[in-house]
């Protein structure tokens, strides 16, 4: 059973990823000071919770927009279709990182003015900002799948049997015949969400010319990476390269920054391999 599991690249990398995180957690529990450990734990949980929410929002947004586009495209009045396509292209024209950055600034302002306080509201807001600039790729994928099946007899053969358009699109095309493609894309979105969050949080934490700062937003891996302690820890890696006798100290004295960097890089690499393995296994 385990042998079979290890033969599948995606499942193997899920195991490697979990194992890596567990090893890092145990090491940190043993050797990292308690306040720093609390920060790393909070940063890790916040980052992955937001990334999961991004996945959910992206899927919902993309599915709804795909259905709307399909329905507008079929209708005789093309104005709603053109308007929605224009809006999507407008979002597409904004670089993801810039769009998310401004979204975060807006959320930061809401937090500072006291309009939102609870993490239960802040997390979804941050996740929505990320998914707004990620979901369009997902819409493209779903529309490609629908277009592919519309070209085949598949679509017309079902429609002339009286099966409703909604069922053919939602059940037969997207669910039955595209869910593997969709899941593969969701894994990539999960990785992209972690990467974008870390990048934006890092930029915000390093400093913007606004009142928004890392204090106002939940602690994430990106903001932890921007801390002065992390920077020193990471710089010590360079020092260890020229002074090999210092390598041992990295895992005890510079654990905070190295753990944060490790969790980001190792998670992104693992997710990349999981997505690739999944695509290979299902011959996508």
């Amino acid at each position: 059973m385990i042998k079979q599991l290890l033969l599948k690249k995606d499942l193997r990398w899920i195991l490697i990823w979990l194992l890596g995180i567990i090893v890092a957690a145990v090491w940190n529990i043993l050797f990292l000071n308690k306040p720093a450990l609390r920060q790393v734990t909070a940063g890790f949980i916040d980052t992955f919770a937001i990334a999961l929410l991004v996945v959910v929002f992206t899927l919902l947004l993309a599915w709804c927009v795909t259905l709307a586009l399909h329905s507008f495209e079929m209708s005789k009045n093309k104005a709603p279709y053109l308007l929605l396509t224009f809006l999507l292209n407008l979002i597409r024209s904004i670089p993801q990182i810039v769009g998310i950055l401004f979204g975060y600034v807006a959320v930061g302002v809401l937090i500072q003015t006291g309009a939102v306080r609870s993490h239960a509201v802040i997390f979804p807001l941050l996740a929505f900002c990320v998914s707004l600039f990620v979901f369009i790729e997902f819409v493209d994928l779903m529309r490609e799948r629908i277009a592919h099946y519309q070209k085949l007899d598949f679509y017309n053969a079902m429609r002339v049997c009286g099966i409703s358009e909604g069922r053919v699109i939602n059940f037969d095309i997207l669910w039955k015949n595209s869910r593997i493609h969709i899941l593969n894309k969701l894994i990539s979105v999960f990785g992209a969400a972690i990467f974008l969050q870390c990048s934006v949080d890092f930029i915000i934490s390093v400093g913007l010319s606004t009142d928004v700062n890392a204090v106002t937003l939940p602690a994430t891996m990106g903001s932890l990476l921007a801390k002065i302690d992390s920077k020193q820890d990471i710089l010590s890696i360079g020092y260890a390269l020229t002074h090999p006798e210092y390598i041992g100290s990295l895992f005890f004295e510079h654990l905070f920054g190295i753990t944060v960097a490790f969790l980001i890089v190792f998670s992104l690499m693992s997710i990349y391999h999981i997505a690739n393995g999944y695509a290979e296994r299902h011959r996508l």
Partner: protein, 499 residues
């Protein structure tokens, strides 16, 4: 007569794809192998010929591992002396090489018979027209399916010519023609048979023709009677799961059934019109017209009354399927007029009218390729979900519907089975049942007998008879002229042609 039996088992991973214990090859004689689509005819023939990839599939032939079988001197001799015409002409031809070059690859260049073969297979074409076909690359699909099929047949005939020139009477051969007439109409099919038997009469060689075309039997009995002792009709039938067996197929069964096939007018036909489709229509810039005679002199509206079956004939590619799709509102015809169950429809009628009032309610259509028409990722049961039926299709009722075309008890496991796991013939039966179960006034059937074995053909025609006697009007499109000429009254035959 030397009959060589092969036991063949092919596995993909842990799953047995096909297992045939008694695949028979009659040395230096001609075998026609019938059987439903997807049952394993091609796979077993490829295994015996030595074409399977041992890295992809694990196979045994006569209990020998496949790599050992491939090393056998006889298999090597067969591969040297023979040719395998693949079912799908597009995938057989190399898209990067001109057809003329492909006709002269390897040992084929030793044949001096190319011009004569091409002239026989392209009977009406002049030298320049044949040259135009030879001078092109197969992609992007410049030659038609029928032309590509004839190119492959020409290759096989060249190889036969080489065999006749280079080996004496003793050289072993195994010419496999996998659905060689799938893209040809009856005229070209008969040209192929004529040339094959002409060469065979000069120097016998081993031939295996895999086909679903039962009407070939009538052609054999009509024109090749002297050769009948050297012709064998066999059928591959499913025993259980992936296990299949080869049985003798009785030509008399087919010929006598054909003689007994009921004519369309014998049913309680009413004068209630279901469809009236104007004789002339324009689609994709082509002007098409319906006639009542094969000479195309009597232009006529297509009229189908309640309980009538109408058969539309035309050579391949003229637009029979296009006509069906125009009636169903799937193709935007530039000019047409029709009345369906009292509803007047023209090129100006919005598509949503078909969706709201016609599809699944007044008319249904069975598409010709079951593989493309069904959701392969869905289960057998899910195939029937979402249909606009007057009463819910309970499991009991669904089992009853399926048992009309599927043998044995309809189990839960079968209902839960993915459509992709069914054989081609089973998919076609499912494809038919999905539409037949609807209570529509008009049923359009595009090649409903595609990929079916004889038993299923009989069952399908019996079900259609029943539907017709209950009042369903039917529009039939099929290249299986022999069967439908018997099945449909002559008054109800229309001829489609481009104006």
């Amino acid at each position: 007569m030397t009959l060589e039996r092969f036991s063949v088992r092919v596995k993909a991973g842990q799953r047995t794809v096909v297992s045939a214990a008694n695949y028979g090859v009659f040395q230096d004689e001609v075998t026609f192998l019938f059987g439903e689509s997807g049952i394993g005819k091609s796979m077993v023939s490829k295994a015996v010929y030595g074409l399977l990839d041992p890295d992809e599939l694990s196979a045994t032939v006569n209990d020998k591992p496949y790599t050992v079988y491939l090393d056998d001197a006889e298999v090597k001799e067969i591969k040297k002396n023979s040719f395998f015409v693949f079912q799908e002409p597009s995938s057989h031809l190399n898209s990067l090489l001109k057809i003329s070059d492909q006709l002269n690859e390897g040992s084929l260049r030793l044949s001096k018979d190319e011009a004569a073969i091409m002239e026989r297979l392209w009977q009406d074409a002049d030298v320049a027209a044949i040259r135009r076909i030879l001078d092109v690359f197969p992609k992007p699909y410049r030659p038609s399916g029928g032309e590509k099929q004839r190119v492959l047949l020409a290759m096989a005939f060249k190889k036969i010519d080489v065999l006749m020139r280079t080996t004496g009477a003793g050289g072993r051969s195994f010419f496999v023609f996998d659905e060689p007439t799938g893209s040809l109409d009856n005229r070209y099919r008969n040209l192929f048979l004529g040339l094959l038997f002409e060469k065979y009469a000069k120097r016998p060689f081993t031939v295996m023709i895999i086909t679903h075309d039962y009407s070939i039997i009538s052609e054999l009995y009509a024109n090749y009677r002297p050769l009948l002792p050297r012709i064998h009709l066999q059928e591959l039938r499913r025993k259980e799961g992936a296990e299949v067996e080869v049985v003798d197929f009785s030509a008399q069964d087919y010929l006598s059934w054909l003689g007994e096939a009921p004519a369309g007018s014998s049913f309680g036909v009413s004068e209630t019109p279901v469809l009236n489709f104007g004789a002339r229509f324009t689609v994709f810039g082509r002007n098409l017209c319906l006639y009542k005679d094969p000479a195309h002199t009597k232009e006529a509206d297509l009229e189908i009354n309640k309980g009538e079956m109408v058969y539309v004939k035309a050579p391949s590619g003229v637009g029979k399927t296009t006509l069906a799709k125009v009636i169903m509102g799937l193709y935007p015809a530039q000019k047409f007029g029709m009345t369906l169950c009292g509803l007047r429809l023209t090129e100006k009628t919005p598509k949503k009218i078909w969706s709201a009032k016609i599809w699944g309610k007044k008319a249904g259509m069975v598409f010709q390729h079951a593989d493309e028409s069904l959701n392969l990722a869905a289960s057998v049961k899910e195939t029937f979900d979402g249909l606009p039926l007057s009463e819910k299709l309970t499991l009991g009722r669904l089992s009853q519907v399926l048992s009309e075309l599927f043998d044995g008890k309809i189990t839960q496991a079968f209902l839960a089975k993915k459509v992709a796991m069914l054989s081609g013939g089973q998919k076609q039966r499912l494809n038919l049942l999905r539409t037949i179960v609807l209570a529509t006034d008009l049923l359009i059937l595009d090649e409903p007998l595609n990929g079916l074995d004889f038993l299923s053909v009989k069952k399908v025609l019996s079900i259609l008879d029943k539907k017709r006697s209950e009042g369903t009007a039917m529009l039939m499109i099929s290249h299986n002229e022999e069967i439908f000429d018997h099945f449909v009254d002559k008054e109800h035959v229309y001829y489609l042609a481009e104006v």
